[in-house]
Amino acid sequence: MSTDFLLRRIMIAIPSLLGISVVLFTVLALAPGDPFGELVTNPNVPAEVRLALRAKFGLDDPVHLRYIRWLWAMLQGDWGFSFVSRVNVDTLILQRLPTTISVIGASQLLAILIAVPVGVLAAAKPYSMFDQIANTFAFIGFSLPTFFTGLLLILVFSVNLNWLPIVYSTEIAGHGMAYVWNAVRQAIMPVAVLGLFQGASLVRYVRSSVLEVIKLDFVTTARSKGIGERKVLVLHVVRNALIPVVTLVALQMPIVFGGAIVTEQIFRVPGIGSLLISAMLANDTPVIMGVTFVFSCLVVFFNLLADVLYGWLDPRIALR
């Protein structure tokens, strides 16, 4: 893969990041109310101070100037100040980002580990008993909303069986192996909720992707050379069928983030999703804008990653 391809992809990603920032800023600019609403209601802040602050932050300037200033501040990492916890927004987000990323990463891994074998086996014998059962379960899987599966798991494993803790905590008891075990135990349910949902929708994509490849001529050639069916499937079909699946995993990221917000809220995982919800309930506008922007950047980043991986796995794409 050439650096030229990489550069071109990055050049495509930048306008979409700019576009997203325009959308976010437009939403904020169109919104009624004052971003400094908290200062208005605060009786300790006199009116002239508020007006001076408005002038200082340039809130009365034309829209395009405000946009450029806002974007410049965001790029420099100056994301403002949380009204509620009195901490800079970027420190707050950086504290919580690793938790979100690790939960999402683990659940994506689980989704792939479920979806690839099931999808390939279902496609190997289309319309067989296994295929139909897998298809039905896939439908059930992505029709079960994450908030309901989360509650069901809590009901079964925490309330009834008392096996797993309900609340995810940052301060885990124990040392050594006990620490690791406790950390894994509290992550099981959030990861399972997200992973099963994601896996269920991936199964169908893997299946149809394998079905596309399996009817190609080179597969017939491999079979007619007398290579065993299992070897044909694994070495010839799956390798090629998984290329579009890589893109799909990355393109599903916006949906995954939505699911992550819900699961973090249910299990009280201290990630940026639950930060977003608590900021909304507390009218903490700078935090809300910061988290939304981080989510947007992550989505663009994963799209870029998908493009680059796609070019690496399938050199025909990179040549175009």
């Binding site: 997203i20 109310g33 908030f147 009901l155 819900v262 989510f295 989505v299």
Partner: protein, 306 residues
Amino acid sequence: MAGSTLASPSAEKTERFSPTRDAWRRFCRHRLAVVSLGVLAVLVIGVVLGPFVWRLAINDIDFAAQLKAPSLAHPFGTDDLGQDILARLISGGRISLAVGLAAMLVAVVVGVVVGATAGMSRGPVDAGLMWLADLFLSLPQLPLLLLIIYLFRDTLKSILGPEGGVFVLIVAVIGGLRWMPVARLVRAQFLSLREKEFVEAARALGASRLRLVGHHILPNALGPVIVAGTIDVANAIIAESTLSFLGLGFPPDIPTWGRVLFDAKDYLDVAPYWALFPGSAIFLAVLSINFIGDGLRDALDPRRVM
């Protein structure tokens, strides 16, 4: 051949070809879709006619009947204020299903207009619109949805009232963030259909652009759109329930399915039924709509059937 002339009149009598009947026949082959159609019909009839049969009020507070398990007086039990859960689910189901349907209509109308415009015009308009669709596809949906509702809820509430304001906002935002797949589908269909002979023939006969689109191209492009629209209803129901579940959707006095689940989630240990009924209602509605969409795909998109 003599045989075929003899056979044809009787064949015509039994199997008169009609596209609708043909589609229905293919739909019926998908057994789960037919079952789902029945389940969804029961749900819809239940929430539409329910209030006439089950006359308990949704906000009838009765502290004597707090957190009662399902019984004859309250088939789905009662919540922490002694309100009847069945009555709340019936009234909430009307809103949840209405939001799903209305948001789907918004998404489909916007998607068809954008897709048709892009598909009929070449060059910069097409490229620009598709760039816009790609941009919207890479927006993080739920955070943005939450952001818009957070920022605009109070204004719309004061203009349209608490119920109407939130309804319009939620429908507009969910629909406005889901038109892109429809637009891409319609554009792809238009690109291939507008080069077909029957369109060329219509153009040669002097049909206007509007007539070409409305009478010749669009009707032929509708199959996949109907399938995508069906699945959009399910997605919109999930989106609305998610908002309500996070406590950022409809206000507490309007019990949508997601809202009832939100209220129930802190009582899982004492009243699991409270969460199970609304959750199952959402699940059944979404699952049956997804299966119906799958059946419709078999019925309306014959090329994709393998």
